[in-house]
Every structure is written in structure tokens, then in C-alpha cells.
């Protein structure tokens, strides 16, 4: 009598991300986000504007002439600090450290290059297959450039290793049928990439440009 001890390997399909998540990932792949920088700039601007307007109103006596006549470094503040100097020194040092850290984090986030994540594939137990971002980008760009009405194509990976996405720039000819190009990009290029990398979906942001005609030679 023989008994089959092997487990039945039933390959489960990779969970497909929801449409909303895919849409969000493809939208954020359009360009590097500057939302954080913009809101910080607006926040600092609001603080400066409030200070400027407040001090101007104070100068013109809107808050009372006696208040406007007080010194900038008010004796009340000096006395308050002098009553417990250690506490105020600790507060000042902590505030300075927080300010320095926030500034350095902001600088690091602003000047950090946008990551080009590799695509990591599941090769089974104890095996991980990594496809470099350059290889994926080159494959996509080469294939996209072969589509009709596409003069040039450029691609790169964006996002993170856990959630990669593609950013593709297509330079179309003047007579291009944009709808047809996009459909073929989805059905031929994106489908091929997903199939080759065994991905259920790969969000893509497409940037369309128009190829400039080459100038005619000035000398025949």
C-alpha cells in the first residue's frame, strides 16, 4: 500500500489591488509630489503675514496707544524669564532642537532624489527574484517606442518596492490617434510587462508630448 504524502500545491492568484488603490497609485506616479513643501510654505507664509499685519496694526494704535508705546522686549517678559531661568533655558534648548530637526528633515525630503524601486518577484520559498528598475524601464520604453505614432518613449519606475508604478513619457507624432495609442499601450505594453513580471497589475502614469519636427537643413 502506498500513501501520497505530498501536499497539493494550489497556486493562489496574487491578490489584485482594488481599483481605487490602483487609481491612486497611478495618479501619484504622474510626478513627484510637492504637496508637503507647498503646505509648509503656505503655513510659514501665513505666520509671517499674521505677524506683519499684527505688528503694523499695533504700530498704528489699533490695540491701544499705551500698548503701542511699550518696548519690543517687554519688561514683563524679562521678569518672567528671570524668575525661573533654568526652565526657560530648557524650553529654549528644546525648541531649538525641534526647530533644527524639523528644518533638516524638510531639507532632506526636498533634495532627496525620487527613488527608482526595483520590482521584486516571488520566486517561491527562500527565493526572491529582483528585476532592476533600469531593466523594467528600458523594456517598457523600448516596447512603447515601437507603437504606431510614437516617435520616442521614456520610462522609469516610481513609488516603492512594495508598491511600484511606472511613469512613461510618450512623444507622439502630430497625426497620432491618442485613444488608439493609449489602448495599445495598455493592451500590448502594460499587459506584456505584467505578464512577464507575473504582476496582477502595475499602475502607470503616462505623459503625452508632441514630437517636434526636425528643422529642414538650411543648406541644400
Amino acid at each position: 500500500m502506498s500513501v501520497d504524502l505530498t501536499k497539493s500545491h494550489q497556486t493562489l492568484p496574487a491578490p489584485r489591488p482594488t481599483d481605487a488603490r490602483l487609481r491612486r497609485r497611478s495618479r501619484s506616479a504622474v510626478a513627484r509630489s510637492a504637496t508637503g513643501d507647498r503646505w509648509l510654505l503656505v503655513l510659514i507664509g501665513l505666520v509671517l503675514l499674521a505677524v506683519g499685519v499684527g505688528v503694523t496694526l499695533l504700530y498704528y494704535g489699533v490695540f491701544g496707544s499705551s500698548r503701542a508705546a511699550r518696548p519690543l522686549l517687554d519688561p514683563i517678559i524679562v521678569v518672567t524669564v528671570a524668575t525661573d531661568p533654568v526652565l526657560w533655558r530648557v524650553i529654549a534648548i528644546a525648541g531649538g532642537i525641534v526647530l533644527a530637526l524639523l528644518g533638516l528633515i524638510w531639507v532632506a525630503r526636498s533634495v532627496r532624489p525620487e527613488p527608482r524601486p526595483d520590482v521584486v518577484l516571488d520566486g517561491g520559498p527562500n527565493t526572491t527574484i529582483v528585476v532592476s528598475s533600469g531593466a523594467v524601464a528600458e523594456a517598457v520604453a523600448t516596447q512603447a517606442a515601437t507603437l504606431p505614432s510614437v516617435a520616442r518613449a521614456r520610462a522609469r519606475t516610481v513609488g516603492s518596492t512594495a508598491a511600484p508604478a511606472l511613469r512613461v513619457t510618450l512623444w507622439l507624432t502630430d497625426d497620432a490617434d491618442v485613444r488608439a495609442v493609449l489602448h495599445r499601450l495598455d493592451e500590448e505594453v502594460l499587459a506584456t510587462v505584467c505578464s512577464a513580471l507575473d504582476l496582477s497589475a502595475l499602475p502607470m502614469a503616462v505623459r503625452l508630448e508632441v514630437e517636434r519636427p526636425h528643422p529642414a537643413p538650411r543648406v541644400a
Binding site: L22, G52, V55, D186, P203
Partner: protein, 178 residues
């Protein structure tokens, strides 16, 4: 504005970091060396000046107005640094398609300038509006504006734009012979 944001953001971050480091250095120095007048910043002299200056004296309003204007400029840069992309319909939800207003303007300009009755044309485009200013030959047909509007609308219909921009065309005729 996007370029201004890219420059301003790290500069402001550096300014914040430098201010924080200066505060820490000066407070620690004043704590350790009580007789110091300031290592990097003459804060004792500044303190004396600020103690002798009241809010209703010059140059307080000038500096305050300058600070307010700087804040207003930062707000304008922050709000105007949005991407002015033109969105297009994508075949799937996993795809987002955009182009620039410059590309849209170029396509419209090429279409408008193809007419023999048009001497020159300038186009400004955004996701909401396409404005065309045409300089036509003096003997151009009277319905040239309608023809151009129709051509531009036909072009926009051919593009899978998510939002159809309004089309505004103005025609001015060139004096003299063709």
C-alpha cells in the same frame, strides 16, 4: 512657480535648521558662560536695542510690512505651485494620462495656422480654457472665426480629454495686401 517652490523649500528648511542650531548654541553658551555677550549672535546688544525701542517707533512698521509681504509671497508661491496638467481619459483605472497645456496649445496652434486665411496665431491653453488670437489676411472670409472655432472644437473632440475646455477665438485682420 514650481521652480520657485523647489528652490524655496530647501532654503527655508536650512534657515529653520540654522535658527534652531543658533538658539541651542547661544542658550547653552549663556548658561555655561554667564558673562558672554554671545558666541555667534550679539544677542545682549540686540536685547538692549529691543528694550529701548517701542512698537510705535521706526523702523518697526517698515520691517512689519516687509515681513507681511514676504509671507504673502510665500503663500502665493505655495498656492500657485500646483501642476497645471491637462488630464485625459485613460483606458483603465491603472493608468493616468496627462499632458501639458503647452502641448495642447501647440496642437491647436498647428491646426489654426494650417488655414490659408490665417497670417499668424497665438494660443494660450489650460485644462479649462483655450484662447486663440488670430491675425488674418485682409481678404479672409467673414465667417473665419466660426471656421476656426469649429476646427478647434473638432480637434478637442478627437482628444480624449477628461474635461472639455472652453474655446475662445478672436480674429483681427491685417491691413494691406496679401
Amino acid at each position: 512657480m514650481r521652480a520657485a517652490l523647489r528652490v524655496l523649500a530647501p532654503l527655508l528648511g536650512l534657515a529653520l535648521a540654522a535658527a534652531g542650531v543658533l538658539v541651542v548654541i547661544e542658550v547653552v553658551a549663556a548658561w555655561v558662560l554667564p558673562d558672554t555677550v554671545g558666541l555667534l549672535v550679539p544677542w545682549r546688544a540686540w536685547g538692549v536695542t529691543l528694550a529701548n525701542l517701542s512698537w510705535n517707533e521706526n523702523p518697526v512698521p517698515g520691517i512689519a510690512i516687509g515681513v507681511g509681504v514676504a509671507g504673502l509671497l510665500l503663500i502665493i508661491v505655495g498656492l500657485a505651485a500646483r501642476r497645471g496638467d491637462v488630464r485625459l481619459e485613460a483606458p483603465t483605472t491603472a493608468m493616468t494620462v496627462t499632458t501639458s497645456p503647452r502641448v495642447l496649445a501647440r496642437l491647436v496652434g498647428t491646426r489654426v495656422r494650417a488655414s490659408d486665411d490665417v497670417l499668424s496665431a497665438s494660443v494660450s491653453a489650460s485644462a479649462r480654457r483655450v484662447a486663440v488670437a488670430v491675425l488674418a489676411w485682409h481678404d479672409a472670409p467673414p465667417d473665419l472665426r466660426e471656421v476656426i472655432v469649429g476646427g478647434v472644437k473638432e480637434l478637442l473632440d478627437a482628444l480624449p480629454l477628461r474635461r472639455r475646455p472652453r474655446v475662445a477665438v478672436s480674429v483681427r485682420k491685417q491691413e494691406g495686401v496679401r
